[in-house]
């Protein structure tokens, strides 16, 4: 199963590397949203809960783009049928798609978080970078698990561009609560982490539960 998943993941990453379809669009989207927030809030720099809220809502909205595109190649070029014909474990497809989404999100954040720090963030948060990295990774795992499931669910519907955000955004509310609350003290002036353990537990628990649920039900989405 790992080998199949790795093969599908390699294929996805290679397609993404050559077409540059999802990640650049997501990165461009986040920077555009920062500009919108700058004018919408009429503020030159943000801190505390406003900064953490803007960053996380922007990242989640950008993730919607990635989730919408996740099964695009399979759908448009009949890759799914080919995968189903192959004598391999179907869960491998979920693992590969979730891993691909995770890689996209990390790539996005490598651009989006420094851009946020330069464009909008007031206080210097360089000291608390390790904490922020842990929060980002945990949130990305959860997003990848839920995103791959939502993407597969919406792939067969007629209005998938509508279904993905409507389905994904309520599902990630617990993730947003954990990530934004954990990030908020880091973005204050001279920010020290507060209650970090509690919110990391929330994020970790969410990741674990949704990984298990997605693994359990994903097979049924392919069962044709």
């Amino acid at each position: 199963m790992i080998r199949t998943a790795a093969a599908v993941l390699r294929k996805d990453l290679r397609i993404e590397w050559r077409t540059k379809e999802a990640v650049p669009a997501m990165a461009l989207f986040t920077v555009t949203v920062y500009v919108l927030f700058h004018f919408g809030l009429d503020r030159d720099s943000l801190d505390g809960e406003l900064a953490s809220g803007v960053l996380w809502v922007t990242l989640l909205l950008a993730a919607v783009i990635g989730v919408t595109r996740l099964f695009a190649a399979e759908r448009e070029q009949g890759g799914l049928d080919a995968f189903l014909l192959a004598p391999v474990d179907r869960t491998a497809l979920f693992v590969a798609k979730a891993a691909a989404l995770f890689v996209y999100l990390v790539a996005l954040e490598i651009v989006a978080v420094p851009a946020f720090a330069v464009l909008l963030l007031g206080p210097d948060f360089f000291d608390s970078l390790p904490e922020l990295l842990i929060i980002l990774v945990l949130a990305d795992i959860g997003l990848a698990a839920v995103g791959a499931l939502v993407s597969a669910l919406a792939a067969e519907t007629r209005a998938r561009e509508l279904i993905v955000p409507l389905l994904l955004l309520p599902l990630v509310v617990p993730l947003l609560i954990g990530a934004a609350s954990a990030t908020e003290p880091l973005f204050r002036a001279g920010g020290q982490p507060e209650d970090l353990g509690r919110y990391l537990t929330l994020l970790g628990g969410y990741d674990l539960i949704f990984l298990l649920i997605s693994l359990a039900v994903f097979d049924f989405l392919l069962d044709d």
Partner: protein
Amino acid sequence: MFSKGLRPVSVAAVVTALAAFALVFFYAPNDADQGFIQKIFYIHVPMAIVALGGFVAGGLMAIKHLRSGDRSWDMRSYVAIHLSIILGLAVLVTGAIWAKASWGHWWVWDEPVLVSFLVVFLLYCVYYPLRFSIEDPERQARYSSVFAIAAGAFVPINFAAVRMAESFTHPRVLSQTGGNLPGDMRLTFLVCIVAMTLLFITLWKLELTAKHASVQLKRLRTQLEAPRLP
């Protein structure tokens, strides 16, 4: 096949509902500081509990569907979620009325139960567009079940997460409903919950029977018309 026990359940629902109304208006005392408006609690909270129970039950029925491959379980899950969404809308409306009367605002963000319920309600609203934008009936049933399972598991996670976001500033006990009620209010409240549950089961069975009957009718009609074709 769904109508079994419909009659006794509906009779029981009517009886307990009448008893519940009688208790609410004649037995339970008016709340000391909220007065008469507090009576909305007896319909609002049972509706919320039954709606959440219906969502989770819909998830369990969906598991049954995926495990057995029997599509009637998907129909059960669909009707349970459908009724819970209708109840959910009523919960939000009655909740807003109660909030306006007792707190002075139509909506209060620092009340975790309210916020969680809204998030769950918004998620379940997507059930309709998801279900009805898939044409193939077999696939529709499978995809709806996957949604019902994921969303059913999401309900408790979401409640825990929203509570966690608030609990530092607003400590509160888990058993906020019923935990600290005086005896006569608690009895009334329990009867209201039973009545609402029975009402839900009655409506659920009724809707399933009606759906089943219309499917049968359609099938018989096509059977009847088939030989007449040249």
